[in-house]
Symmetry: C2
Subunit: 200 residues, 2 copies
């Protein structure tokens, strides 16, 4: 099987969420797996000097309109979260804690967390609320609590974020196909074309 | 005929250029005209606190790769200009000077200026070089020179930029279809779908 697609996203990124609902099926059509790599946009913004688009005058209004409109076009449920954007270090740590044991289940957890945030308006930056979502997927809340507090998990998360930034990841979603980078859910059509043709 | 599409762009915007090569044919398929409205990203950035993406660490490298890649996908000639980005007040004034007399010819001039910049690497922020491009479209260089120095033309240009910003235009290209805004050449597929379906 050809190399997997690398899928970088922040748990607080609407377009990351939209892409998360599409990327595995898209990859599977072309015989590819997808490796999920949550990162922290906050860490990126410290380097790029950027800020969440929602905080930018004028642009924020556009995005409040564009997020649900694009979600409808994608056929993906979307409700603008009340608390937005949020710090996503806890969801990222929960992911990497589980990823070390069972990558497939970590992906399922990520999907559950993203849907909790972007569909059910659950603030997953809040540890107890996040743990409740984890429990809903069959995990034991106390194990997750211990996992996200573990020094090794914290270090792994930091390393993954640093590696993502070192690779050039600056926005969410960011997808890499055979070394070719694509930023944004509006590049999914290019990802698909790249997979189908090997490039242009 | 239904209301024309409003097409906002900056003469220094690669994605604005790519969209400019597609928007009129796309609109015509759906029985629409397009009104071109160049604006100045520099004026927007003063309000939004933004900066040209090429100046952002990490992001700039991505764009240097993405511009030509997307141009190839669009089937549009593209050469990264040596001087980039540039101040585009002169091309905007030349456009509005001609637009007051002949909007169709102003569009042709805009196309010629965009291609000069993005294909032939001519720095159209330089008055003499810009006038040479204008002359190449059959205009008299001295008339254009007088036009872009005219107080009324300057005022019209300023008013158009202010109005664009007041409407929420914050990036290039920015297209409005029946009041519905779309930002980016990667929203052209959504523009087309909106025209075909009336919205979703």
């Amino acid at each position: 099987m050809a190399a997997p697609i690398e899928f970088y996203f922040d748990f607080s990124s609407p377009f990351g969420y939209l892409a998360s609902e599409k990327i595995d099926a898209l990859a599977a059509k072309h015989g590819r797996d997808v490796v999920w790599r949550p990162f922290l946009l906050g860490a990126v913004f410290k380097i790029t000097g950027g800020t969440a688009p929602m905080n930018v005058p004028v642009k924020g209004d556009y995005y409040r309109h564009d997020f649900p409109r694009t979600a409808r076009l994608f056929g993906v449920a979307y409700n603008q979260p009340t608390s937005f954007p949020i710090n996503t270090v806890n969801p990222a740590r929960a992911f990497y804690w589980l990823d070390a044991k069972d990558p497939a289940r970590a992906k399922d957890l990520a999907r559950a967390l993203l849907r909790a945030y972007f569909v059910d308006d659950i603030d997953i930056s809040d540890t107890e609320r996040m743990l409740a979502v984890c429990a809903g997927t069959g995990l034991k809340a106390d194990e997750v609590r211990e996992g996200i507090g573990d020094a090794g998990v914290k270090e792994r998360t930091k390393t993954e974020v640093d590696q993502a930034i070192a690779k050039g990841v600056f926005g969410s979603p960011y997808m890499v196909v055979d070394g070719e980078p694509f930023w944004g859910s509006d590049r999914l059509d290019q990802v698909e074309k790249w997979l189908a043709t090997g490039g242009w």
